[in-house]
Symmetry: D2
Subunit: 305 residues, 4 copies
């Protein structure tokens, strides 16, 4: 596969969509990014990375970090799988910050990719490692090969200032006994994780273990093949907020999006992609990013279906 | 792949689960089936069918018919895709017969595999063909190569007698203007479709077009490859009631289950499976059937992820 | 109390509100009424009736009939009170035609004044009397002293044509086993009851038993004092759709409204009022009617609080 | 009316119910109270107080404080009534600590007597007075004539330790912009208010202004008559959690209950009652307290209906 040629064709197709949709504006630090930026990168399973457009420009990973925190909890838990008694694996069927389903289901979030579920995962990672956000940062540096990755203090601080909804989720789950650490500490680590700045290049590389059935960039094993497949399954059914069904239908690849405008996607056994364009549709997914992935699978025929 | 050997190993693994769970008891005709029956069949993409156990025993297809009615609507609609303005493609996040989400979303069902969505699809098929249930029966006879397939009048009649919930769904959607035909007629065709009796052999063969990217048993085209993939995507995200995430996680294949105890599953490009065992778990999926598919993907490594 | 003078002052205050709001338009027969009609009547406990404006013009009683069907079920049940195992007495907290709460609470409607609850009451009255709608019509003729009261066939037929939502409610409750009679029969009686045409004069007189602690116009006992008080309690907490709290706050009297624009209200031990003006607010209550009752209690000081 | 004789008859009737139900056990300080305590007091509008049983034993007022914080906000707001843009007046139709309705209604609680609504009221009182809990304590001392009333530090501290659900409510409303003060401060004042210890005697006397149409114990005006009636209306429709309809039906008086086992009730123009017995029914209302009020209205005929 000539990835470079495919990416150029994909970019030509998707760039007209860049600028459509709305840039996330709930915190000032995100709002300032130009809506029409566009970049895409592919990392093949040998670690070669190809890219087009703004593929080396860092952006805020936001909810894409949820994929990595889940993987790290699974890696640190060994074979116990105890996280799944505290968070489900089912699509939520309601907007991503909903407390409704959480109340119906006694404080057990539906899946690890809605905010409540990610708080539970972060809480578990905190218990397992003693420092959830630093553990993730170090992991991302190693897998991306980029030692300069860092938290964005302005973004994390701004999230905290506007974080009442997530704080409410934390206390609500705590009232059901579903957090092990103090709520403010869990919230803080969660915001630090979301604030990490990475480029499409960095993210495609860092997500390589998902295409390599659990092997890290250096060939060592992070997860069993079975576990890596399971993360892909959760990405496909729950990775794009309340549009997971639509995404599976159009794109047909496991994917996880963030309100920073990034989306990572996995072609198991072949490659990991990352696309970035800040304009979001009504459900919080990058408009041009979704168009790009749609066209990528059309060109390559690499849907999982 | 030596399908026969694999199926035998799968059956040895899954048979101890046969008899677990509850046989559907909301209508007498289903309740009478022994819970510990077990059969499994695979149809490869060349039409060869392999089977083990009770793989030639007919059972009530029930909700598995929803896969076929969706495919037939797509085939008869040509390129218009108009069905998707009347039914969504997102997992429902609530039990399969819930009216709650339907009320929130103004009579547009979340997806074609919950009962409300299937009624919309049947309604559309009725409009497109003039006789939704007969159209499906003829299609299933041709694809399975079994001219003896028939409606089970006792089951259809029994469903109608106990069909108040589905009738309520029909009138409720009608109140939002989302049915084209009279409610009683749509309900009737829906129950006839669900009542069709087929064996694992019949269903694996009839679902072959899903593994052949849209080609029928005789090589003619039912659906574009893109459309067949989309049905697989909907099966993976919505095909097993409120356990679709769990199913994707454990099995990793597009699948559709029915309360008769059958499940069909697709390995795109390779084969279509059907497994049957009447004991159901709390979410309505066959206990032994799910165990069998789980073991099948473990043995073959054929998850889509 | 000089009722005639009070009513004239009330009418002067409330008439400017006549014409505000929307006339119910879900059936043609209601839509045709001029929005700015206004009438008010008071029947004192001795049966004297006073009125102003369009107080002798018949209009469609609609949901006001729910008060009378509840009273008739209680009167025909004797001391058993068995109706309360099938319908609750709590405010609903959701719009009056909601299926959501009905699903949560297993087919038991929250109270007798939402549509689902009224269907249960009608169903019970049908069982107790053999002809629910005729029983009510005869009762209303006797209590109002107006032998010309009749069903409006056009309205009842039109309701049936647009009655999918109520039919859905009926089948939904039937699926929980909470209807004794066939759904279409219950729906039909319900629509006939709603279609009865009465004037403010008729309704104020017919509702006299609520102010007389259960005594009918002829002095015979319809209900025990305790039972009449209980109907007033249900009217106060549930009688004006999702605005019962607001109504209690502003008006402070037990009341029941209908989408025909009528409202009856009770001053226990003193009088029964009926006001009519077809323009409805967003919650389905007459705008000018609510203003009139508000001013009536201000002038007389006759809130129950 | 010979109040003393009535109370003795009421107590004889209700005492067998004392000990039924469950004592609130979510905080240790409440759990320790013997379930079978029973006291009742009546304060007539002249300030005479009568009592029977444990009517002089202090208990934790808990949610009964919500009545007083609402009255104090109305008294300090003058004629503006601005509180009603931030909290509704409708019954909630869901359990008292539900976040579901709060999410549906964009952070505006349904009424001031559910926890979320009481937090908004406390927040407003804090802004108006600078010290919500002390303002209330002083008011209660003056109205009850008992200068020894005090916060119970153990109860307030224990509430704070187990207060995650209320903290979640606070942050959730804050995320909608519906709190003016910092969440922890609002929560703290709320818990202090709930922790106040008062006897039936104290509470009947302190609630006298509700029966006197807004006049305080010293004859000065706290609220306009209209405003006092409105608080009574909110008590009747929303004062006993999800059992307000049932309470109106059985008792027919405005009332407010607390999980400490107390209930205050108002006979407008006549008297204010307080009954106490710690055993609660499933909806959080005192079993013996409800029985006592029921019998009181039966004996006196003083329902508002």
């Amino acid at each position: 596969m000539d990835y470079q040629a495919v990416l150029e064709e994909v970019a030509a197709y998707a760039r007209p969509y860049a600028g459509q949709g709305q840039v996330a504006d709930y915190i000032p630090a995100l709002e300032r990014v130009a809506a029409d930026r566009f970049g895409i990168a592919v990392a093949d399973i040998n670690g070669e990375v190809y890219g087009v457009g703004d593929w080396e420009t860092p952006f805020s990973v936001q909810s894409i970090s949820k994929t990595f925190s889940l993987a790290l909890v699974m890696a640190h838990s060994g074979t116990t799988e105890d996280i799944w008694s505290r968070v489900g694996r089912e699509p939520s069927g309601t907007p991503f910050n909903s407390l409704v389903q959480l109340e119906w289901e006694n404080g057990i979030p539906r899946n690890p990719f809605i905010n409540s579920g990610a708080l539970v995962v972060t809480d578990r990672l905190q218990t397992l490692t003693g420092d959830a956000s630093t553990t993730m940062l170090h992991f991302l540096r190693e897998e991306s090969g980029n030692p300069d990755l860092a938290f964005d203090q302005a973004v994390a601080g701004s999230e905290a200032e506007h974080g009442d909804r997530n704080t409410a989720l934390g206390y609500f789950m705590s009232s059901f006994g579903n957090l092990e650490n103090p709520v403010p500490s869990v919230i803080e680590h969660y915001f630090w994780q979301c604030s990490i700045e990475m480029s499409c290049r960095d993210l495609a590389a860092a997500g390589g273990f998902l295409a390599r059935h659990g092997l890290r960039a250096d060939g060592s094993r992070l997860l069993e093949a079975r576990e890596a497949k399971r993360i892909n399954a959760v990405m496909l059914t729950c990775g794009t907020y309340d549009a997971a069904g639509e995404f599976a239908y159009r794109v047909g690849l496991p994917a996880k999006s963030g309100v920073g405008g990034g989306i990572i996607a996995v072609v198991p056994g072949r490659c990991t992609l990352c696309v970035w364009s800040p304009g979001l549709d009504a459900r919080g997914n990058s408009v041009a990013g979704a168009a790009a992935l749609d066209h990528f699978t059309t060109l390559t025929g690499w849907s999982v279906f």
